[in-house]
Symmetry: C2
Amino acid sequence: MKTINYSNLDQAKAFSKLETMVADKKVPTLKSLLSSERVTSCSLPAGGGLTYNFAAKQADDEILKTLYALADEQQVLDKYEELLNGERINTGENRMVLHHLTRGQCGEPVIEGDKNLGDFYAEQAERFYAFSRDIHSGKIKGSTGKNFKTVVQIGIGGSDLGPRALYLALKGWAVKSDSLKMEAEFISNVDPDDASQVISEVDPESTLFILVSKSGTTQETLTNHQLVINKMIEAGIPGLKPELHMVAVTSQTSPLASSSDFLDSFYIDDYIGGRYSATSAVGGVILSLAFGDTAFKALLSGAHEADMLALESPSKNAALTDALLGFFENNLMGQSVTAILPYSQALSRFPAHLQQLDMESNGKMVNRTGAPLSYKTGPVIMGEPGTNGQHSFYQLLHQGTSIVPLQFIGFKESQRQEDVVIEGLTSQKKLNANLTAQIAAFALGQENKNKNKFFPGERPSSLIHGKDLNPKSLGALLAHFENKVMFQGFLWNLNSFDQEGVQLGKVLTGKVLGGADDPVLKAYSELLGI
Amino acid sequence: MKTINYSNLDQAKAFSKLETMVADKKVPTLKSLLSSERVTSCSLPAGGGLTYNFAAKQADDEILKTLYALADEQQVLDKYEELLNGERINTGENRMVLHHLTRGQCGEPVIEGDKNLGDFYAEQAERFYAFSRDIHSGKIKGSTGKNFKTVVQIGIGGSDLGPRALYLALKGWAVKSDSLKMEAEFISNVDPDDASQVISEVDPESTLFILVSKSGTTQETLTNHQLVINKMIEAGIPGLKPELHMVAVTSQTSPLASSSDFLDSFYIDDYIGGRYSATSAVGGVILSLAFGDTAFKALLSGAHEADMLALESPSKNAALTDALLGFFENNLMGQSVTAILPYSQALSRFPAHLQQLDMESNGKMVNRTGAPLSYKTGPVIMGEPGTNGQHSFYQLLHQGTSIVPLQFIGFKESQRQEDVVIEGLTSQKKLNANLTAQIAAFALGQENKNKNKFFPGERPSSLIHGKDLNPKSLGALLAHFENKVMFQGFLWNLNSFDQEGVQLGKVLTGKVLGGADDPVLKAYSELLGI
């Protein structure tokens, strides 16, 4: 095994070289770069039938070569292999990082004590596959004898955003392919209005709840669990037993594990971080219930394909190339916001998931050993589906005073295949014509004597595209971004897998609820009626 | 009437003074500033029972005084009065800007030809109030004789985001106060999966559609109109006549006006910009149908209160103070992203509306006469409700390398008043304890020898708070932000009311659909199956 040198970015020769290139104005304009040849050549497979295209990125061969040299210097592929092989790469929490293992074996078997962790995740998957089949067949029914028709996930953060984004992303596919087994809903916020609204819209007798909390101590989730139980009891339905409508997804050591409050429990462990948990039981139970285990297995296979492609050498590696170009824009070009713009309504909440994935992973100011960093790290992530965004914030993206790099996502076909032809054109073609037009407009701009109608262009974008959005391509899309974020963390030499930044709020919340005598906390508490 | 001097920001003496103060490190730390006294004193009424609190903003008396002097120098209140009195302040399109007039008279009557425009908006409101009462009473029924139960808005951008955010914001209030007259859904995206999904979930016989397009030519909206009609015909229900299930909200000169394709039409005009149209018929028809005209009138009254408060002198003016502090962070402190963080699940889509409102209004690089600007303009806006965001992107907000100013929103009471007490505490108190804790954590941070657990603090925030979220407070909240954005546009001397940045995409989309021979457009078209 290679020795890996974990050093900060500012020690890397390729980084200095890039800084010099930028200072010497060696960065070509997009207007001079973008050509149809580049659209063909700047293209890498991203798994699941998807392709990553970076023709409209402000990087010529020289910049790309230097970025790839930086990847070598920072040994990002070696670090990825270390991670896959079970190195404790989450230094802050002294934990392995094993979400890749939930979708397949990319490296050596990972053994802890006498436990093969790959086998453990696979066993859990087999358990929830069998459980979902028993729910679908009616072998397991609600406590009053009704079949389960709806599933509600109670969880927050990674237990909510990823699974919710994936459910919404596949619902149209499931309707079209006759795979929609159950409707799914989600409760996350401690705001009681969230749970109240969801519960008011489901039939308690035919609803199964999934409580998701790795630690079994998440305040929001436990509170909402109790709120749901109270509501079920209040419903006053004879024979309704809440505990027979609840399963848990948690760690084996949590207070929720094998509790009699649950019909069944499925397990994850400390090596699956919340924001990386969509392909574990956290996403797997609800997605198998909603769409069947075959669909979830296809999602895993797409993710595994992307994970394997992320082992390719830098210039053949879509996730790494994406990471390097994003890094270049952030650290060299001073572009510190990234917009995620899927031209697919089904991906309406995918940007919110990526916002967590990226900002919680790389929004750090210390390196992996806790030393302060002297350079910018993770960008701010925002986004909404196109064409909606075009009628909203695109004004600033086109003509604002900051340049925001763009990540477009598009598919040849719609999911539901229910389209309308007007003047010879389907909606899907209009959608994609808009996407095409935007890439060109952002990159090339347009001159106009009236400066109010002038478009400067030089707004870089990438495009991930494929035939359609299905479980496999969605799995690859998810893993592509997970791996992109991981590679950027390696470049910055930080730990993308802990989240100490959420702790202080928790501590102070406890103080407020405990009646803190701190005058500032008391003053705000008064305003808010605490 | 005063003469108004429209000059660029960099000509203002107060701006130079602020630059000097920043250069001389005269900006106090939040740790030195924030006190319980400030929580009490830094507080201004924002209308509708709301209060704007800026205790946790990095501005002492000297900075505030200079900001207020800047407001005077840029004559922002005079400009607001000009706008109210019907000046053609939308210079790019040579239009008046009259959304304030949809909720009441703040200035002189605005007369065009022999038409009093305030009366015109009021007449339209009376028309859709009467229409909504006829729908609710069953006087107007669907074409097969069923009562209308569901209303679906077909619109995009301002015809979607504002009305949708407001509908979601009030649904819980309506359920609790027994005011939910009709369920509402929204179709916006040209992606055919959007319309297909919504239509699959409604009963065509009891559904009323509202087509919203000021020009009557919005590609997405016309396409979705046709898609809905096709679906209704395909349903094969005897006697079902789509045109008797459709109303239009449009301008009197649009091709949709008084068309036989519609049951009725309600009018707006060119002086109500899309993103400012939520209090016109664009929001009024659907909100009156969903919640009754009394609720919509209350929303207007809250907005009008905020509009009147925005006429107050700078130091008593919540919207202007908010604008000035946001400007200070953006232009003097280099903080060019703002996060909107409502601690209310009902406001789940309010940040998306503000994202459009702000970024489409002030994402400009030229001044109001089209001359290039040498300073930063509008910020990037992002946000999700708390506590959800705490388990997502707050990591970067606390410990990232960029400082993102925060706008918190919170209410003493939940909307649905269906809460649960665990260990003596309601969910609502937990929600607000989290909010309180976050303000303090962001401002004050926390020392730690372990730099991975160190919080630098110095993250500024404001808090808009009130008793509860109801139609009146929501109206004030909406108008507060509209006025904030308007004032910032005045400071920057730009036109916040046009959106030339959306045009190039439209032109190029037409070229793509027309089979453009541009090689770049062709190459991307091929990837996307056009």
